[in-house]
Every structure is written in structure tokens, then in C-alpha cells.
């Protein structure tokens, strides 16, 4: 399986957002000079707190919201001037479970395909429904389905017209662990067929699990766009925690050169180091500990997650 941004960077751009702004009539600036370049075949995760502008950005790209200024191009087609060509390439799974309650699964998925200008193709609809485990429910009315199944129907609708770019707006909202894992699997399978996936999420683990690149948006501005692995390497912090045999009253003077913190009860010593810096001097620390007569019975290391990085970035932006 191909992971990381190296794969994506070699691919041409499928979506280019330039200086996109959206100001509502109330004066609220939901999007502020957004610039984004998404490569074909990558999985891009857009992270941001509530009200950051994630859904507005997706809506502006898909044509649901009219941008105040700026341009969006999908595979070179401007979403305003060449809206037919641009929109035909996009599939959208909205955040809310908005379905026609009285339609059958088959009918609503077929309707979506027609709406996007594709001739009927029952074999393709069959394939989509089977891949989403909806085949047994194809003649059921949507109102009789569970929340998770309704989410699958929305995904099936988005895939019905064979899009090249798929937007998943918080796909894991309100779904159980099993469905979430199924969805991750589906997204990876889609990527292997050349579909570009752009997802917004609150679940950092989702971005951490799937994304090639991560974008962070806050207050309508893109704070950062970075390869996920590079981001974690660049901004990640590592900690080495030592469980001491004898509690200490204070950090020994001989260890002053290291960034050490002693727990309140004096039984744990934590060494924090930055993965950006040169190789941490762990061997030197061990040597100094021995010299200072500090014995430890256990040790563990931990690394800051994407969630920690995200929280720090949003705090800094605020």
C-alpha cells in the first residue's frame, strides 16, 4: 500500500483553489483567501474546529455556496464557467443524513447517476451497492434503514456517477466502529482506482489513519498544508519517561543540561525532545543518570499524535 505524500506529489493537480473568499450577507467572513492544490489520487484530510469553514469550503467547491471571490478549478475546468464539466467529476457525501425517506435505495442511487448526466448503468449501481453492503437493502425504503446504512446510501449516491474527486464531509459522524473501518477500507480502494478523496473530520485518528496530506483550517484560513508524515516529524514531540526506583526530591544538578521534568511524587522523570532537532542524546542521559546514582526500574516512550499537533496549531492561530 502506498502511503505518504511522495506518491501524491508526483501526480498532476486535480483541484486548484485560488484566493477563495466567502463573506455572508451578515458580514461573517467564512472563507478568507483560501489557496489549495490537491493532487490526483491523494487522500487529503481537512481538519478544523467547529465553524472553521470546512463545510463552507466544500460547498463553495461543489457549487452549493457561491463564493464572494476567487476561483476553483477541477481537472482544469472552472467551477463557474465550465460548471457542467467540473461538477460531473465531483461526488459529494454531505455531513447531514439528508435522504429521500420514501424512495428505495436503488431508485435514489439511480436518480443521482441520472442527475449527473450519466446514462443508466444497472451493472455499475449493482457494483456500488455490493461494495457498500447495501445489496440486500436495495429495495428497502430509506426511512427503514439505520443511520449507518443511510450514510452508506449517501456514499453510494456520490459514487453512482463514477466521480474522480470524492468529498466526504465528516464521514464518521454518528457511525459505529465497524462501519468506520469499512469506510476507511473503501476510501483506500477508491484511491487505488485513481479517485482523489478529500475528507473533513473531527476524528484526528481518521486523518492519521488514512490521509496522505493534512490541511488545517481555522477561522476561514488555511493555517497549514503538509504531508502527514512530514508534519508529524516536523512538529511532533517525543517523550522518554523513566520510572525511578527511589523517588527524587529534585532533578540532580548533573542533569541540568537535559529537558527533564520530575513528577509531583518524584517517582517519574520525563525527558522531552523534539524530533526536528538533531538526534537526541539519550545515551548521554543514561550515562549521566548512572553517574548521578539515579536508578530506574522501567521506561517508556511516547510520541505526540496528530491530535496534539492539531490542537497546538489551532491554539497558535487563535
Amino acid at each position: 500500500m502506498v502511503r505518504g505524500g511522495g506518491y501524491a506529489r508526483r501526480m498532476p493537480s486535480i483541484l486548484v483553489v485560488s484566493h477563495l473568499c466567502k463573506t455572508y450577507a451578515s458580514g461573517h467572513r467564512a472563507l478568507d483567501d483560501i489557496n489549495l492544490d490537491i493532487q490526483q489520487g491523494e487522500i487529503f484530510a481537512l481538519l478544523g474546529p467547529n465553524g472553521a469553514g470546512k463545510t463552507t469550503l466544500i460547498s463553495a467547491i461543489c457549487g452549493i455556496v457561491r463564493a464572494t471571490s476567487g476561483t476553483v478549478a477541477v481537472a482544469g475546468f472552472d467551477t463557474v464557467r465550465d460548471y457542467r464539466a467540473a461538477r460531473a467529476l465531483i461526488g459529494l457525501v454531505p455531513q447531514e443524513l439528508t435522504n429521500d425517506a420514501f424512495e428505495t435505495v436503488w431508485a435514489t442511487v439511480s436518480f443521482s447517476r441520472g442527475l449527473f448526466g450519466k446514462p443508466p448503468n444497472p451493472a455499475h449501481i449493482d457494483g456500488v451497492l455490493k461494495s457498500l453492503s447495501l445489496w440486500e437493502k436495495k429495495d428497502h425504503k430509506i426511512m427503514t434503514l439505520s443511520g449507518g446504512m443511510k450514510r452508506r446510501v449517501l456514499i453510494a449516491k456520490a459514487l453512482s456517477h463514477e466521480p474522480r474527486v470524492l468529498f466526504l464531509d465528516e464521514p464518521s459522524a454518528g457511525v459505529d466502529v465497524e462501519l468506520r473501518r469499512d469506510m476507511w477500507l473503501l476510501v483506500r480502494q477508491l484511491r487505488e482506482t485513481g479517485v482523489t478523496v478529500i475528507l473533513t473530520t473531527h476524528y484526528i485518528e481518521e486523518a492519521e489513519e488514512m490521509a496522505d496530506r493534512v490541511g488545517v483550517i481555522s477561522k476561514g484560513r488555511i493555517i497549514l498544508v503538509e504531508d502527514k508524515q512530514a508534519l508529524m516529524h516536523k512538529l511532533g514531540k517525543k517523550q522518554l519517561s523513566l520510572q525511578l526506583v527511589q523517588p527524587l526530591a529534585q532533578v540532580p544538578a548533573g542533569l541540568a543540561g537535559f529537558s527533564l521534568m520530575l513528577s509531583d511524587d518524584g517517582s517519574e522523570l520525563t525527558y522531552t525532545y523534539d524530533t526536528r532537532s538533531e538526534l537526541p542524546d539519550i545515551a548521554g542521559l543514561m550515562q549521566r543518570l548512572t553517574q548521578a546514582g539515579v536508578a530506574f526500574k522501567d521506561l517508556r516512550t511516547s510520541q505526540s499524535s496528530l491530535e496534539d499537533i492539531f490542537v497546538n496549531l489551532v491554539k497558535e492561530a487563535a
Binding site: 439528508t98 435522504n99 425517506a101
Partner: protein, 144 residues
């Protein structure tokens, strides 16, 4: 022109009509038929013919057109507004369709339904009406 989209919208609306036949077609036909009974039988029997045209025969086209126009506007506006109300309009807005194509789909389906409704309400020639009115009304024709 995105003909597949027009066909999809038209088919979607007509499927909704088939699903809701009672409220889409039968209910307006009964409602119009009751107008015929009230105006035709109750009032019409007391009004003499003018120029060889009975009052009942005079009001039938008007009542049929009243039902047809009311329902055609209702069908089309409901079809367009309901997706907005429940949120499924996102799909229409993000689809590669123009406003004209959307309108052709919805209004075309509404017009078709209205014609079916008007035809159902219209009297059938040669049918004898069992009610006391001087016209052969739609509700009676359903027994013909």
C-alpha cells in the same frame, strides 16, 4: 442540455406520484367532483339555461381548470421546495444541471400529472349521470 438529468427528475417526480396516488390524483379528483355536486346539482338546478347552455355545463370547464392550475402549481412547487426543506437539494445544486433543466424536469412532471388529473375530472361523453344535476360530473363518471 443534460437530458439524463431532466429524465431523472421527471422520472423521480412521476414515481412519487405513483407512490402517492391517493393524495396526488384521487383526492383532487374527489374534491373537484364535490364542487360539481355543490355547484351543479345544488345551485345549477335552480338556475335556468341561458342561450341553451345550462349552468352546470357552463361551470365545468372552469372547475376543471381550477383544479388543474391549482394542482399543477402545487405539484411543481412541492417538488422543488420539499428537497430544500429536507436538505436533499444539495444534490441538485451540486449537479451539472442548469436552472432551465431543473425546471423542465419538475414543471414537465407537474404538467403531466395535472393533465392526468384534468382528464380524470372531465366528464366523459355519453355517460349518464346518476345524480340529479343537469350535467354529467366527474364523480359520477367514475361509475360509468
Amino acid at each position: 442540455m443534460n437530458f439524463h438529468a431532466i429524465r431523472a427528475i421527471y422520472g423521480f417526480e412521476m414515481a412519487r406520484t405513483r407512490r402517492t396516488l391517493m393524495q396526488s390524483i384521487v383526492s383532487p379528483v374527489i374534491s373537484t367532483s364535490l364542487y360539481f355536486v355543490v355547484f351543479g346539482a345544488a345551485i345549477g338546478s335552480r338556475i335556468p339555461e341561458i342561450g341553451g347552455v345550462s349552468y352546470g355545463a357552463f361551470i365545468v370547464p372552469g372547475l376543471v381548470m381550477l383544479a388543474l392550475l391549482t394542482q399543477s402549481i402545487s405539484y411543481a412547487s412541492f417538488g422543488i421546495y420539499f428537497p430544500r426543506f429536507v436538505g436533499t437539494i444539495y444534490e441538485l445544486l451540486s449537479a451539472p444541471v442548469s436552472y432551465v433543466e431543473i425546471l423542465i424536469g419538475y414543471v414537465g412532471a407537474a404538467a403531466t400529472k395535472s393533465i392526468v388529473l384534468g382528464s380524470s375530472s372531465w366528464r366523459r361523453p355519453g355517460c349518464s349521470c346518476p345524480c340529479a344535476s343537469s350535467i354529467r360530473c366527474g364523480c359520477c363518471c367514475s361509475w360509468c
